[in-house]
């Protein structure tokens, strides 16, 4: 079930989560390959955000397995999942206020820093070299997302759309294997959304897998390689955007209510 021909990166099997009597995620399976853009859609309450949080380690699954390559990561706490290379952006932009754009990216690069804090504190040459290399990488990333002119800007000066791009760039700095996007197009103008779509394609082209929750079909359907559809916690379809948009179950559960929005 590969969308790009890349290797299977993430394997989710039998994922389940309940909150008291409510079944939020019900026996969900899917795969994600290197460089694949996978969309997760469904009506409100379908379990999209919960699935996201289970993969990111913010919630603990009641059942099921999440394997990153060959390693089981279900049950790991969020910072450990991040350490394994699954990074997320925030639905409401969450930059570090008081730092400028470049500094925010450098924090994102933190995972890559090999030198220990005391080496940095003492100003050892190895630490300094590394910091300089990462600063160069940060500038490159900023150029890639289109914020190249804003390196020294304070983050409070960025527009909402630019803030989104910053989230992307910051996640990229961590050299992730997978980036999770939670409704990235929300609140963007169509110009900004197009720009963001281009960036996400660029990210996938670099071999990084992308998992995105999205409501805006005009943004998602042209972008995703594959789409997983959830309804009331269960997966009801899994395939290319064209294929799933023809599935009766999907049309009934979701697209039927937004017939005019289908691309």
């Amino acid at each position: 079930m590969s969308g790009t021909g890349g290797r299977t990166l993430l394997t989710v099997r039998g994922l389940a989560k309940r909150f008291g009597g409510l079944v939020a995620v019900d026996d969900v399976d899917f795969d994600l390959d290197d460089g694949e853009i996978l969309g997760i859609i469904g009506p409100n309450g379908a379990g999209k955000t919960t699935t996201f949080n289970l993969i990111a380690g913010a919630l603990r699954a009641d059942a099921g397995s999440i394997r990153l390559r060959d390693a089981e990561i279900a049950g790991l706490p969020a910072h450990k999942v991040a350490a394994r290379g699954i990074l997320r952006t925030f639905q409401h932009n969450r930059p570090f206020k008081g730092m400028n754009v470049l500094e925010n990216l450098l924090v994102g690069a933190h995972r890559r820093v090999r030198a220990r804090p005391w080496a940095a504190a003492l100003g050892l040459p190895s630490a300094r070299r590394e910091d300089a290399a990462l600063a160069a990488a940060a500038r490159e990333t900023l150029a890639f997302v289109g914020l190249g002119d804003h390196a020294a800007s304070d983050v409070s000066k960025l527009s909402f759309g630019q803030g989104r791009l910053l989230e992307c760039a910051r996640a990229l700095m961590g050299e992730p294997a997978i980036i999770l996007f939670d409704e990235p197009a929300a609140g963007l103008t169509s110009v900004e959304a197009e720009r963001l779509g281009g960036v996400i394609r660029g990210i996938a082209a670099r071999g990084i897998a992308v998992l995105l929750i999205e409501h805006d079909m005009r943004f998602l359907l042209p972008l995703a390689h594959r789409v997983v559809v959830l309804d009331r916690g269960a997966k009801i379809a899994d395939g290319t955007p064209a294929a799933i948009s023809r599935e009766p179950a999907v049309i009934e559960a979701y697209l039927g209510r937004h017939a005019g929005a289908a691309a």
């Binding site: 991040a82 570090f96 450098l106």
Partner: protein
């Protein structure tokens, strides 16, 4: 005037010590949110360790002093792991570690008294007690050492926070702990390192101060109070605030003590009074923290 020049040296020296103590609070407070009143006792322990390394074992100054600081840094890290971390991980409110550390003040002090006795012990200075003649005044050698070392340490800490990625990571934890954690920053390492760093900084203040006065088990509390006052005046935010707060507090004390036409018994209370008045006017202190308006 000779007096003013001498006072300037005195203000820089005392300001340096106070700034270091304020910084010791800051490096723990910002990433973890914990006000650690045990910083004074860390200064005490480092002074006693230097009695051992420099006095009993007769090591040359730099290795001896560094060893003393490493010792107290280790104690700082151990304290975090043994007493603070379990509370944080059980989701205790932030007041709990603060109270635990207040209890540690007593533990540290009793340990120092039991381990080193209750008498004042001599700490050797690095460069003796001579004077550097500079025209109209002579600067005591130890004063010069205090000013130089505290300046270097403050500048170095500033550079760590502003110029290294680890420093940025610490700031990120201070600004938005949850986001930082979700980005993969090892919050445990940051907490342990901030305690170790805070201990080393407070320890430096102790080792710098002790040759002039002595190492004794009660020296911690006044240093902790002065440091906290400097921290609050400076704005509880950045290294620059610590420096400014320390200098302002020292200047207040020295100038009032020297020139105010009041008995010196009252002059002792004036700086704290001024701090209270100052905070009524400007509660956030002199310099704002990053991530806050």
């Amino acid at each position: 005037m000779t007096d003013l020049l001498e006072l300037a040296v005195s203000i820089l020296e005392a300001g340096g010590i106070y700034a270091l103590m304020a910084l010791a609070y800051l490096v723990v407070l910002r990433p973890t949110g914990i006000i650690n009143f045990a910083v004074g006792e860390w200064a005490t322990l480092a002074s006693f360790f230097s009695v051992a390394t420099l006095g009993w074992w007769n090591l040359p100054y730099i290795p001896g002093a560094v060893l003393a600081l490493a010792g107290v840094a280790a104690i700082g890290a151990l304290t975090e792991q043994a007493t603070v971390r379990p509370m944080i991980e059980r989701g205790a409110p932030i007041l709990t570690p603060i109270l635990i550390l207040l209890g540690m003040v007593v533990v540290y002090r009793e340990a120092a008294a039991l381990g080193f006795g209750t008498q004042n012990l001599r700490v050797p200075p690095p460069l003796g007690f001579g004077r550097i003649d500079l025209g109209p005044i002579a600067i005591p050698m130890q004063s010069a050492v205090v000013i130089a070392v505290s300046g270097i340490m403050l500048a170095g800490t500033w550079a760590f926070f502003e110029r290294t990625i680890w420093g940025k990571a610490f700031q990120a934890v201070a600004i938005d702990r949850v986001a930082a954690g979700l980005m993969g920053i090892n919050l445990r390492l940051v907490a342990a390192f901030s305690f170790a760093g805070g201990a080393a900084i407070a320890g430096t203040a102790g080792v710098l101060q002790a040759p002039l006065t002595s190492a004794h088990y009660l020296m911690g509390l006044p240093l902790a109070i002065k440091g906290f006052s400097a921290l609050v005046i400076g704005g509880v935010g950045r290294v620059e605030g610590c420096i400014l707060g320390g200098l302002v507090l020292a200047a207040c004390e020295r100038l009032v003590m020297r020139y105010a036409p009041i008995p010196s018994g009252f002059a002792i209370g004036v700086p704290l009074l001024l701090m209270i008045l100052f905070l009524l006017v400007r509660p956030t202190g002199l310099i704002g923290a990053r991530g806050r308006t």
